[in-house]
């Protein structure tokens, strides 16, 4: 019986990449038919297939790693590079929206009344709910670090407590932001102020939801004994992503909420 003479993982053929691409095509064309032809069928199909691909692809990665042992230290190193590169690309994604914000707010046009915030816009008080949200995310950064140390030290009960607290804080942030969105006296259609505010904070909120989901999957895996004290990269990746989400919020808070008010 032949065995490989290297420490890499030659993955079995899988349908998920091409199905994922198809899901992307359905979703993008679905957005077009929804915006321009008043039909949401394609979009629903696209989002549904995207969800199914993600669930099945990542389920397979867990099978290959935790159940079949294919994730050698070499493989893990590659995954670390991958996650770092991905998070870097997300940082650039947000950089674009910060660029847009500064472009419009540093030189406010006459149409806005030559001022920032524009005439007629009453910005949110940064010392009310936005400050609470800052405290929540910072606290969740502390609790996720507590969870990590607990995992490394083999303390199962504390790890579960700490990770659960982290996820609850994440949900609390999302709930508060949703309430803020509903109560805000300005909307996305209120000049470039509304555009920059809701697009930047909106994408951030989406990333909080993604991060919370990732952490929730980690909690489930933690409870099911998937992690060892020195091999738990899925958790580390989730924690990195969560810290990234926190950092983006800090920049949002300092620039859009505070300087921009």
């Amino acid at each position: 019986m032949a065995h490989q003479a290297h420490s890499y993982h030659m993955v079995d053929p899988s349908p998920w990449p091409i199905f994922g691409a198809a899901a992307g095509l359905l979703t993008t064309s679905g957005l077009i038919t929804w915006f321009h032809y008043n039909s949401s069928t394609l979009l629903t199909l696209g989002l549904l297939s995207m969800l199914l691909v993600m669930l099945q692809w990542w389920r397979d990665v867990v099978r290959e790693s935790t159940f079949q042992g294919h994730h050698t230290p070499t493989v893990q190193k590659g995954l670390r590079y991958g996650m770092i590169l991905f998070i870097t690309s997300e940082a650039f994604f947000f950089l674009g929206f910060f660029w847009a914000f500064f472009h419009s707010s540093l030189v406010p046009t006459p149409e806005l009344g030559g001022q920032w915030p524009p005439a007629g816009i009453k910005p949110l008080n940064p010392l009310e709910v936005p400050l609470l949200n800052t405290a929540i995310l910072l606290a969740s950064g502390v609790t996720v670090t507590w969870a990590h140390h607990s995992i490394t030290e083999g303390n199962r009960k504390q790890a579960i407590h700490a990770l659960t607290l982290t996820i609850l804080l994440g949900f609390y942030f999302t709930a508060l932001q949703a309430m803020e969105y509903y109560e805000a006296p300005f909307s996305i259609a209120d000049s470039v102020y509304g555009s920059t505010f809701f697009v930047a904070t909106g994408f951030h909120g989406l990333h909080v939801i993604i991060g919370s989901s990732f952490l929730s999957v980690c909690l489930l895996r933690l409870i099911k004994f998937h992690f060892t004290s020195n091999h738990h990269f899925g958790f580390e990746a989730a924690a990195w992503y969560w810290h990234f989400v926190d950092v983006i919020w800090l920049f949002l808070y300092m620039t859009i909420y505070w300087w921009g008010s």
Binding site: W34, F35, N38, E111, L112, G113, P118, A119, G120, I121, K122, N125, L127, E128, V129, L131, L132, T134, A135, I136, L138, A139, V142, T143, T145, W146, H149, S150, T152, E153, N155, Q158, A162, L165, L169, A178, Y181, Y182, E183, A184, P185, F186, S187, I188, A189, D190, S191
Partner: protein, 73 residues
Amino acid sequence: ARLWKLLSYIVALPGVGVCMLNCYLKAQGDHERPEFIPYAHLRIRTKPFPWGDGNKTLFHNPHVNPLPTGYED
């Protein structure tokens, strides 16, 4: 892990608690809404929204969000 557990319960979570109290106290006196001035740069409707009647934003709140023609209520 002990350090981070202590930081969580002694600094982080009480910090959240203080901010929650601050929000609650500040929210007590906040209920007048600005008068409606039909500025051209606000309430932009270049194209209808793809939901509802196409005239309301996704998180529309009739009490604080006027339509292009003014408050609804």
